[in-house]
């Protein structure tokens, strides 16, 4: 193993990255990634903030019984588990279908040219 160079680019010339960054394929990949991840992050943060906010400021509402000992607070809390699982599943599906094919194509083309 030789000297470790932190600016090593994996055999791909650095100018190549700027060209790829400007390419329509890459722009499309970035758009697809951001259009899913950014709004979804905002959504789950707002939903979690709502849960925390209600838990500390609307304790009476959260204590409203639903069934047996289960109250609204527990239901919304378990709802956080459910939405976490749902968002994870949605992201996997999005990444497998919309991100991976185009990312792999760009990656493959870049290594082929290098």
């Amino acid at each position: 193993m030789g000297v470790m160079d932190e600016r090593h680019t994996g055999g791909i010339p650095i100018e190549e990255y700027e060209a790829v960054q400007q390419s329509p394929e890459f722009q499309e990949l970035r758009t697809r990634y951001r259009r899913f991840s950014f709004p979804m992050t905002v959504a789950f943060l707002v939903w979690y903030a709502l849960f925390v906010g209600l838990s500390v400021f609307a304790t009476d509402f959260m204590a409203t019984p639903v069934a047996g000992a289960i109250n609204v607070g527990i239901v919304i809390g378990l709802g956080q588990f459910a939405t976490t699982a749902l968002i994870t599943w949605l992201y996997i599906r999005h990444a497998n279908r919309k991100l991976d094919p185009i990312a792999e194509q760009i990656h493959y083309e870049m290594e082929r040219r290098a």
Binding site: V3, T9, G10, L29, M110
Partner: protein, 545 residues
């Protein structure tokens, strides 16, 4: 309630010899596995990143093993047993936080970096200032977390091994530290990962078995378990609703919001979690890792909900508080109530394994950051051979191990539970803003990086230093002691126990301000980072043996 338990609870339950024997078995098995793993630890990528050859599933299980510390396992079960809903509320932040890692960080970081968090943060910046800052933040977070774990080991020894003498506890802390050093020095990241995988398997199996057992006593109805807790708890119905801990005053409410913010934004900025993403061969496997981690961690916190209310119902809050270890004894006492000495022994061993696995992960992270970032790239300007760098990393691990043994012994009687919350606050205030800016803001530059890291780090540590957790909490008339770390002094002026609400916005603000006041921008490196992070072109590949 079980009369036997009431007689025995104030001292120690179960058989310390059995607890120790089961733990000894865990150590023996893991040491053998670590030694086998060491045969394939040759290069720097092997030592720091397990050769990048773990599968997403293996890494996801290891992440769960790394993340579910003794504070999660014992602390959250105990918190739910004593304060019910508020304990549950606390646990959820630790889970949803993983969505930040999944959606924004894990894959892009895997594609961009090599061994450490600083690799990513310094990728398109001037190396030395950014690496120095990122390494200082990494070392701070790891050290706070490590000290909390090691100090917790002392209390756990008293509870589970019936070692009550000062000397005995010190020796046990030292033994824990030495085993951890062996794992890290011999097995590197590969060995550490296997320890974490085994521990996660035991922890989730044990918690799952206990959950099933508790539910079976209550007709498989969560509601019935909770009703059982209500009748056993002195707080009665109040444990089902929010408010027992965080509802005291407006200040405690705001304090919890501050904590929740640090938890949800801190997880994806914990260096020891981030470093785990380098142990897989591709970003796709990094994604699978997070999915496995989310599934296991989510499952575990669902178990905790049942176990916490189950411990309240079956053991009773008074017995939990009376036991050595107090709140932390809920899960072990519940194990004893359900399965006697044997299950208690198993759960005790899991608790110790937890400490070992977590401290090993922290030590390898800190040693990598010192050797790779500070020694090689800052001091020697990247001119050190990989083998020499790993040698330094091993020496650093040895030093960190020694420091953590001494620190754990000195800190064991201190009230330093706040250190875990501080680690999350620093990760959320210093690391996460810098990671997000680096990955998504083209204009971001060296000054912005340095300012956001130091801004977030210094503000969170300063605010904690002048907060009530360090000094100035009222004296409890029963114990004659203040709940603060320091007794008899009061220099606090920051009202909250958790700094996140102020320090996280400050971290983001300083990153923005630093960026806007500097004209530097490296468009070529930004292009490289963005293309590499999203496509994996040029990313580090797995080691082939």
């Amino acid at each position: 309630m079980n009369t036997l338990l009431q007689d025995v609870a104030p001292t120690t339950v179960g058989s310390p010899a059995l607890n120790m024997a089961i733990f000894g078995l865990f150590v023996a098995v893991t040491v053998v596995i670590v030694i086998r793993a060491s045969r394939f630890t040759k290069t720097a990528a092997d030592y720091y990143a397990g050769g990048r050859s773990f599968t997403g599933r293996q890494n996801g299980i290891a992440i769960a093993g790394d993340y579910l510390s003794a504070a999660s396992f014992l602390g959250i079960t105990g918190a739910i047993a004593l304060i019910g809903y508020d304990g549950f509320l606390y646990s959820i932040g630790f889970l949803v936080a993983w969505l930040v890692a999944l959606l924004l960080v894990a894959e892009l970081l895997r594609n961009t970096g090599k061994f450490t968090m600083a690799d990513v943060l310094s990728f398109r910046m001037r190396q030395r200032p950014v690496r120095t800052a990122a390494a200082i933040s990494t070392l701070s977070v790891s050290f706070f977390y490590l000290l909390a774990q090691m100090a917790g080991a002392g209390g756990l020894v008293a509870l589970l091994m019936n070692v009550n003498s000062d000397l005995g506890q010190n020796i046990t802390i030292a033994v824990v530290g030495i085993i951890m050093i062996v794992y890290v020095l011999v097995g590197g990241m590969k060995g550490t990962t296997w320890v974490q995988i085994i521990k996660a398997g035991l922890l989730i199996t044990g918690a799952g078995l206990m959950t099933f057992w508790v539910l079976s006593k209550y007709g498989f109805s969560l509601s019935n378990v909770m009703l059982g807790a209500v009748s056993a708890s002195p707080s009665g119905e109040a444990i089902l609703s929010p408010g027992l801990r965080y509802g005291e005053s407006t200040l405690t409410k705001i304090d919890f919001i501050s904590l929740a913010l640090a938890l949800v934004l801190g997880t994806a900025g914990l260096p020891h979690v981030l470093m785990r993403f380098y142990t897989v061969p591709s970003s796709k496997e990094a994604r699978r890792s997070v999915v496995w981690a989310i599934s296991l961690i989510g499952l575990f916190y669902l178990f905790s909900l049942v176990l916490g209310f189950g411990a309240a119902a079956l053991v009773g809050p008074e017995n939990i508080l009376a036991a050595p270890g107090g709140v932390n004894s809920a899960a072990p006492l519940l194990a004893f109530e359900l399965g006697g000495a044997l299950l208690l022994g198993f759960i005790s061993a899991v608790a110790f394994a937890t400490i070992l696995a977590v401290v090993a992960g922290l030590t390898i992270t800190a040693s990598a950051s010192f050797a790779h970032d500070i020694y090689n790239n800052v001091i020697k300007r990247g001119k050190v051979e990989a083998d020499a760098e790993v040698k330094i990393a091993r020496r650093t691990a040895l030093t960190i191990g020694a420091v953590s043994i001494v620190g754990g012994i000195l800190a064991k009687d201190q009230n330093i539970a706040f250190l875990v919350a501080l680690a999350f606050a620093v990760a959320a205030s210093a690391n996460l803003p810098t990671i997000l800016y680096t990955l998504f803001w083209p204009r971001f530059n060296t000054r912005g990086s340095v300012w956001s890291i130091y801004g977030g780090l210094i503000s969170s540590v300063t605010l904690i230093a002048f907060s009530p957790v360090v000094s100035g909490k009222p004296i409890n008339p029963e114990t004659g002691r203040s709940a603060s770390m320091l007794q008899g002094v009061d220099f606090s002026w920051f009202p909250l126990d958790n700094p996140g609400l102020v320090s996280i916005p400050l971290g983001f603000f300083f990153g923005w301000l630093g960026t806007m006041t500097s004209r530097e921008i490296d468009r070529a490196k930004w292009a490289e980072l963005e293309v590499r992070s999203l496509t994996g072109a040029g990313a580090e590949k797995a080691v082939v043996h």
